[in-house]
Each structure stands twice: as structure tokens, then as C-alpha cells.
């Protein structure tokens, strides 16, 4: 895979184009999905108002009392989709399911540590801590190729 970046001195809208086979490999598919994360917006609801959000700003998606929420660094928005629907939509991106009720954005990770009972604890860049359950540990490892 070759990367070519063209810096232009005049003010132009950034354009990203990917040239690949009609049946791209897994690496390329993952790259395309990750780029779409940057570009695409989702709708989150707060105090009855709809807000346009970038998935890149979402730290994790959590399900509480059968409602699903986007957790950003300092704010929380509700989403209409269910957790499993987000899991399917985000499967080739930096998001990974870490327990029954949480999907984590691995781009917002600061560190991980091992816990008793085969679990792991992650610390996000805003110092928030989440627990990866044993069943979802293998999926989490795969995201890092470990």
C-alpha cells in the first residue's frame, strides 16, 4: 500500500481518495471504515434537542436501562440505535465491544491493566475507567493485533 499526500498552498477543501481493487483486502476495508468515522456524523439527543456528533469524539457507547448513550469527553447524548446495531455498524473501526453494555473507542485509550479474574481495566484519556470482561477480551486483543 502506498500513501501519497499532496500539500497545496492555496486554500482548498481537503479531498481524500482511495484507489484500490474492487474487492479490497481487510486492511484497506478497515482504513475506509476508519476514514468514514472521521467524515460521517451521527445524531445524539440531549434535553429533547438533536445534536450532530462526530463518532471520532465519542469515547464509548453504553447501554443503561435499555437506552443507549454516547459518552463524549464531558457530555452524554442519547442515541436511537441499540447497542448491537452500533456494534454491527462499527465493527471495522476503532470501536470494540468490551462488555455486555459497552462499546469502546480504542482511539481514546490511555492505558490498560490486568485485573483479578481474567478481566482488564482500561483508562481513557479523560481518566475514566472501564472494565473489559473475560468474554470480550479476545476481541479487544484482536483490535491491537496482540
Amino acid at each position: 500500500m502506498k500513501i501519497k499526500i499532496e500539500y497545496i498552498t492555496t486554500s482548498v477543501e481537503t479531498e481524500i481518495s482511495i484507489r484500490c481493487n474492487s474487492n479490497p483486502d481487510e486492511k484497506t476495508k478497515s482504513l475506509i471504515c476508519q476514514l468514514q468515522l472521521f467524515i460521517n456524523y451521527v445524531v445524539g439527543y440531549k434535553d429533547g434537542e438533536a445534536h450532530k456528533l462526530s463518532l471520532q469524539d465519542v469515547f464509548y457507547i453504553d447501554c443503561v436501562d435499555e437506552k443507549t448513550f454516547f459518552y463524549l469527553e464531558f457530555e452524554v447524548f442519547e442515541t436511537q440505535l441499540k447497542l448491537y446495531e452500533w456494534e454491527n455498524q462499527l465493527k471495522d473501526t476503532s470501536f470494540v465491544r468490551i462488555n455486555k453494555s459497552t462499546i469502546l473507542n480504542t482511539d481514546k485509550l490511555k492505558s490498560v491493566r490486568s485485573l483479578f479474574g481474567g478481566k482488564m481495566e482500561v483508562t481513557m484519556i479523560n481518566e475514566e475507567k472501564l472494565v473489559i470482561s473475560r468474554h470480550y477480551l479476545s476481541g479487544f486483543r484482536q483490535k491491537f493485533g496482540v
Binding site: 485485573l115 483479578f116 481474567g118 473475560r134 468474554h135
Partner: protein
């Protein structure tokens, strides 16, 4: 159960079986503390550790907030297999207070040692992941 989960179950099974086998072999040197060990006993032991590993897989799917309660439930899984299958079906030990206390101490020890080995193994994985996170930040 995916391949990785099966691999984890086998790993826990083998670690716990090894610890139990070594403990019982060691106890054989202390008079009146150990059961009579034959080759079929080791096969029965392996069957029981396998059963415990599978039971723990299903039990840990239950969402429990408290770490202490979760560990107690996992200990209960081990105790139920050891006492019901080991003591009840295979008759490894007589049902006397002395043997029940010894068996309870052994299974508790095996539980904690197995978990510490898993923590030790996961520490290596955590280190590798932290290195990748650092490398990604520095890009």
C-alpha cells in the same frame, strides 16, 4: 464458544489440574490428610477441572457488578463440582468435617493461584497493548 474462548477454558483447565495434582501429591506425604490416588483418580480430577472450567464460562456470562460476589460465585462453581461429583459420584473422600475443611482449603487455594497465573499472563498482554497505544500517540 469461539476458538479463543475454548483456548482460554483449556488453559484454565490445565493450570488448575496441575496445581490440584501437585497439591494432592504433596499432601500424600502428610499422614491422614490425602485420599488414595490411582491413575483413574487423575483422570477423574481432569474431568472435574474440565467441568469446572466449562461451568465458570457459563456462570461468568451473568452480569454481576460486585467483584467479591462474582468471585464467590466462581468459588461456588468449583465447590459444587468437587463436592457433588468428586465427593458424591467418585467418592474421593469420606464425608467428615476434617476432609471437608481440607478440600475447601485446597479448592480455594487452587482458585486463587490459577487466577494469579491468569493475571500474570494478562500483564504481558497489557504491556504489549500499552506499547501499541504509545506508538499510536507518537505517530
Amino acid at each position: 464458544m469461539n476458538k479463543k474462548t475454548i483456548k482460554d477454558c483449556i488453559l484454565i483447565d490445565c493450570i488448575s489440574f496441575t496445581i490440584v495434582a501437585v497439591t494432592i501429591a504433596t499432601l500424600a506425604y502428610i499422614p491422614n490428610t490425602a485420599m488414595t490416588i490411582t491413575s483413574s483418580t487423575y483422570l477423574q480430577l481432569f474431568g472435574c477441572t474440565t467441568l469446572v472450567s466449562v461451568l465458570m464460562y457459563f456462570t461468568s456470562k451473568i452480569r454481576i457488578e460486585s467483584q467479591i460476589v462474582e468471585n464467590l460465585i466462581l468459588l461456588f462453581d468449583i465447590a459444587s463440582v468437587v463436592f457433588c461429583v468428586g465427593g458424591g459420584v467418585f467418592k474421593w473422600f469420606p464425608w467428615e468435617i476434617k476432609y471437608v475443611v481440607i478440600i475447601t482449603a485446597i479448592l480455594t487455594m487452587v482458585f486463587f493461584v490459577t487466577n494469579f497465573i491468569m493475571v500474570w499472563q494478562n500483564n504481558a498482554m497489557a504491556k504489549a497493548i500499552n506499547e501499541k497505544i504509545e506508538a499510536h500517540k507518537n505517530e
